[in-house]
């Protein structure tokens, strides 16, 4: 296949994610406005951060009046999973120029990672860069456009649609396959449990504590299995 065809197939393979991705951006836009962001700030956040879950977490903490440092730290911890994606996708990017690598890094999210790695494993001949750029373009543009839609139309969508529920469902679709063995199952169970238990924790450190507890618990189980 040509580069052009691989780019187009990247765009096409991304289409099934749009029914979750566009509302995701939309919900982020609405939430940001409600928290006192200007329209420009809300859209800029999606352009620059491009991590919906971290944005929602940050917006929620801002609304509760958390210190800026805690807000940033929470957003970074929510995005900690991109480090894993970065490591897993890096071998596929090895032939890219340094400049393209730096560009491609910005578009590493759950969906671009999942789609790209699936395709790379399926077909060795797919042009890595063209396919990745196709996937990234579709997902990035639809997410940012969703945010702009939320900014423009947010107050006109009735609450009855409960669009914001698409967000945990999207993450559920990613969570379930990420649980592959005992350590990952323990990491998920502990992360989820601590997040619920830590709802009232001071300074809204809940997500940070939950994520780190989950990883630590999985690490211990993994270590314990390895030494058995």
């Amino acid at each position: 296949m040509t580069e052009r065809e691989d780019f187009v197939s990247g765009v096409r393979d991304s289409l099934p994610t749009l029914p979750a991705n566009v509302p995701f951006g939309f919900v982020v836009g609405v939430a940001a406005l409600q928290a006192g962001f200007s329209g420009v700030q809300a859209v800029s956040m999606s352009v620059l951060v491009f991590g919906g879950a971290s944005q929602l977490a940050a917006i929620e903490l801002l609304q509760k009046g958390s210190p800026a440092l805690i807000v940033v730290l929470t957003a970074v911890v929510v995005n900690l999973r991109y480090t894993m994606y970065s490591a897993a996708i890096a071998p596929h990017f090895r032939r890219f120029s340094e400049r393209w690598r730096l560009v491609c890094a910005q578009f590493v999210v759950d969906t671009t990672f999942a789609l790209a790695v699936t395709e790379y494993e399926r077909d060795e001949d797919t042009d890595r860069l063209a396919y990745y750029l196709g996937v990234s373009l579709a997902i990035y543009v639809s997410f940012v456009a969703g945010t702009a839609g939320g900014v423009l139309l947010g107050d006109r969508i009735p609450d009855g649609f409960q669009l914001e529920f698409a967000v945990p469902l999207l993450f559920l679709a990613l969570l379930v396959p990420s649980i592959a063995d005992e350590p990952t199952a323990v990491a998920a169970a502990v992360g989820g449990f601590v997040a619920v238990a830590a709802v009232g924790v001071p300074m809204n450190l809940g997500i940070i504590v939950a994520a780190l507890s989950g990883v630590s618990a999985g690490f211990v189980v993994n270590h314990w299995r390895g030494s058995r």
Partner: protein, 114 residues
């Protein structure tokens, strides 16, 4: 807007830029490191594979089991039921679209039940 709206706006920009820079560093980490190191050490890889389940569960579980900040493990909690059905779909299909569509459909259907 509060009287400190100007200052509030600076605070928002700080958060946006801080979160953007922090996230980019995470994303670019191994992508640029690769080539300098030949292989990500297996132990690092295993530990990294724990991060998505821990973080995703920390984001999803409270959305399903809490209602207005209180634990709601009952059949009256529509989101819990819809999430449970969606989890089964996710497990069987490993596909985003059916998971989200079925989850939303169950939520809407339950809203019609008096």
């Amino acid at each position: 807007m509060t009287p400190a709206a100007g200052l509030g706006s600076v605070r928002l920009w700080l958060v946006v830029v801080g979160a953007a820079v922090g996230s980019y560093v995470l994303r670019v980490s191994f992508i640029t490191l690769f080539g300098r190191v030949d292989e990500v050490p297996p132990r690092v890889k295993t530990t990294l594979s724990l991060v998505p389940p821990a973080v995703l569960a920390a984001l999803v579980v409270p959305e399903l089991v809490l209602a207005d900040g209180a634990l709601a493990l009952t059949l009256g909690n529509d989101r819990l039921i819809a999430g449970a059905v969606a989890a089964v779909v996710a497990w069987r299909t490993e596909d985003m679209l059916p998971t989200v569509v079925v989850g939303m459909a169950v939520l809407y259907a339950l809203a019609l039940v008096p």
